[in-house]
């Protein structure tokens, strides 16, 4: 187990360094970051002064090392728009994004687990059909459009929920549904197929032939296996939500990281974009690491293979 942990930790660290390098080069993809960050009508003198101030005149390897040095202590420069340390701005917005992502995850799981279990228990039945429908709709409806439609019906016409803002539980409902819709479909599919698969295993037949009741077979064998499947995918879906929050937070004016990245991109505030990209990618890497550890703890087969 320790060896497994150590090798996964090392991999994650390497990935984070890779992410740092990737972001460094992405921002320099066009060759002239100054032109990218300054307004279109900036004079050559202004551009030159900006290059000087940002260190873009230094040789590339110098820029790279000072960037990596800063990154090592969490310094990603100052936001051009807010004129404040970029990473601090990101961390300030984190709670709002986490709140939304957790609510969306809760929404997805609360509906997906019972649906998937009912559907998977009676293949071909009514619940199974609903299950497959939810799975398909979750994959085919874009969340940014769903968000707009939810606003049209539940905010504008029925006036049940506010159209935007972060102000108590009522304002959380629509964004959470819009963001949680894709994971809902994904989880439903997954739970259903996990139940279907486990049901045909030998140990389930053994359990039934021992005379165990349905309830006990489910609680002792089927739920556990479904849990293993879910643990491995929940982390991945959190990563997806960080991306999806770009749309959802912008539409609902939710003051989180997703909306911030949209604003930063529109304002060409690349030090801030850089900080958000690095933070989000590292967040996902850490999440994946945690889920792998949880996975290894739940499922002994993984531990032994490593």
């Amino acid at each position: 187990m320790q060896r497994y942990l150590f090798s996964r930790l090392l991999q994650s660290l390497l990935l984070m360094v890779g992410v740092l390098i990737l972001v460094f080069f992405l921002v320099r993809l066009t060759g002239d970051p100054a032109r990218l960050m300054m307004p279109r009508d900036a004079s050559p003198e202004e551009l030159e002064a900006f290059r000087e101030a940002m260190g873009f005149n230094e040789p590339l390897h110098r820029q790279f090392f000072s960037y990596m040095g800063g990154a090592a202590v969490g310094d990603f420069g100052r936001s051009l728009h807010y004129r404040a340390p970029a990473m601090r701005l990101v961390l300030e917005r984190l709670p709002a994004t986490l709140e939304l992502a957790l609510a969306a995850m809760a929404f997805a799981l609360v509906f997906a687990i019972p649906l998937g279990i009912f559907g998977g228990s009676r293949p071909g039945g009514v619940w199974d059909t609903i299950c497959r429908g939810v799975g398909l709709i979750g994959q085919t409806v874009p969340n940014f459009w769903l968000a707009l439609m939810l606003i049209v019906y539940f905010s504008v016409q029925l006036r049940w929920f506010p159209t935007f803002g972060r102000d108590g539980l009522r304002s959380l409902v629509l964004p959470a549904i819009a963001l949680g819709f894709f994971p809902l479909g994904k989880f439903t599919r997954l739970v259903r197929s996990a139940v279907l698969e486990v049901r045909s295993e030998d140990y389930i037949r053994t359990a039934y032939s021992k005379g165990l009741l349905d309830r006990r077979v489910y609680s002792h064998h089927i739920f556990r296996n479904v849990a293993v499947t879910l643990v491995s995918i929940v982390a991945v879906q959190f990563g997806y939500m960080l991306g999806g929050s770009i749309y959802i937070e912008s539409i609902f004016a939710w003051p989180g990281i997703g909306r911030m990245i949209n604003e930063a991109v529109q304002a060409r505030d690349f030090p801030l974009v850089q900080a958000i990209a690095v933070f989000s990618a590292c967040f996902v890497v850490v999440l994946n690491l945690l889920s792998d550890i949880a996975y290894a703890l739940i499922d002994p087969r993984i531990r032994y293979e490593a």
Partner: protein, 299 residues
């Protein structure tokens, strides 16, 4: 099901059997028909569209769809904020979406196939380097990556296609490599090796034919994904220039009028749902069709 099997046994010609196979899956058939419809709309947009998609008419702006009291059949799906015909714009938007999806997937799968074969077939250091970079790209939240690259490169159709082509390649690399490793360990490749087949021979006779199925299936789903993401980028104002009628650009415009003219945002979204639905059903159907295990049990 049993009746199905009985019926198939009577059909001798391969054409008949193939037709049977297509007709067996109702959802898949629906997907194929729907997808054919979407492609037809894209190809025939200039003939089918009732108006010029760029023609502005401020006097007829934000006209509701025909079934509304204030709507008219001159603009069946109404008009947008500049009085442009919604139906015509949606038809032309199909072209943008399908072009981005199709060319993007061709680039991504070609790149992925070459790099995946290289990684899976040569192994060693080449494999480690390719897979290291692949895993790095797969670790970054995809939408974030696309948004950052799109904002750096600027708005153009070519940029959008290249962005999706390159950022999607890692997925195809991973799948290709996985399949190559799996196929190489299979019994039939081992027996081919023991019969003295060369590496090139094995690649052409055994590995490539077996890769087509899985890659084609993934390509269908990924094309649907790219259409999604293109619309999303357009919605954020990062895809094709605003002068081109695309579903994402239409959604971005419709968002501002969501309170009083909700149809402007509704219809392009429905177009995305229909296209994505057709491709997902098609993908499921392809997966069943190309998986020999399922196919054999069916026919």
């Amino acid at each position: 099901m049993r009746l199905d099997a009985l019926e198939t046994r009577g059909l001798r010609s391969p054409v008949q059997r193939f037709l049977k196979l297509i007709l067996r899956d109702k959802a898949g058939l629906f997907g194929v028909v729907l997808f054919a419809f979407v492609i037809l709309v894209a190809l025939l947009a200039p003939t089918l569209a009732p108006h010029d998609p760029l023609q502005q008419n401020l006097r007829a702006s934000r006209q509701p769809p025909a079934w509304h009291e204030e709507g008219s059949w001159d603009h069946p799906l109404g008009t947008d904020n500049l009085g442009r015909d919604m139906l015509s714009r949606i038809m032309y938007g199909t072209r943008v979406s399908l072009t981005v999806g199709f060319v993007g997937v061709v680039i991504a799968s070609t790149l992925g196939l070459v790099l995946g074969l290289l990684a899976g077939y040569t192994g060693g250091r080449t494999d480690s380097i390719i897979m290291g970079i692949t895993n790095l790209f797969l670790a970054v939240p995809y939408l974030l990556l696309v948004v950052v690259v799109a904002s750096v490169l600027g708005r153009s159709l070519l940029n959008v296609i290249l962005i999706f082509g390159f950022t999607n390649a890692p997925l195809f690399v991973r799948i290709t490599r996985g399949e190559v490793l799996r196929i190489r360990q299979s019994g039939y490749v081992e027996s081919a090796v023991s019969l003295g087949a060369t590496r090139t021979r094995i690649l052409i006779d055994h590995i490539l034919p077996n890769l087509i199925g899985p890659l084609l299936t993934v390509a269908t789903f990924e094309m649907s994904g790219m259409i999604f993401y293109e619309a999303g980028l357009g919605f954020l104002g990062l895809s094709v220039p605003p002068s081109i009628p695309s579903w994402g650009n239409m959604l971005a415009a419709g968002r501002q009028y969501i309170q009083f003219s909700p149809w402007i945002a509704t219809f392009p979204g429905l177009a995305i749902v229909v296209t994505s639905l057709s491709m997902n059903l098609l993908g499921d159907w392809l997966r069943d069709l190309l998986d020999p295990k399922i196919r054999r049990s069916a026919s």
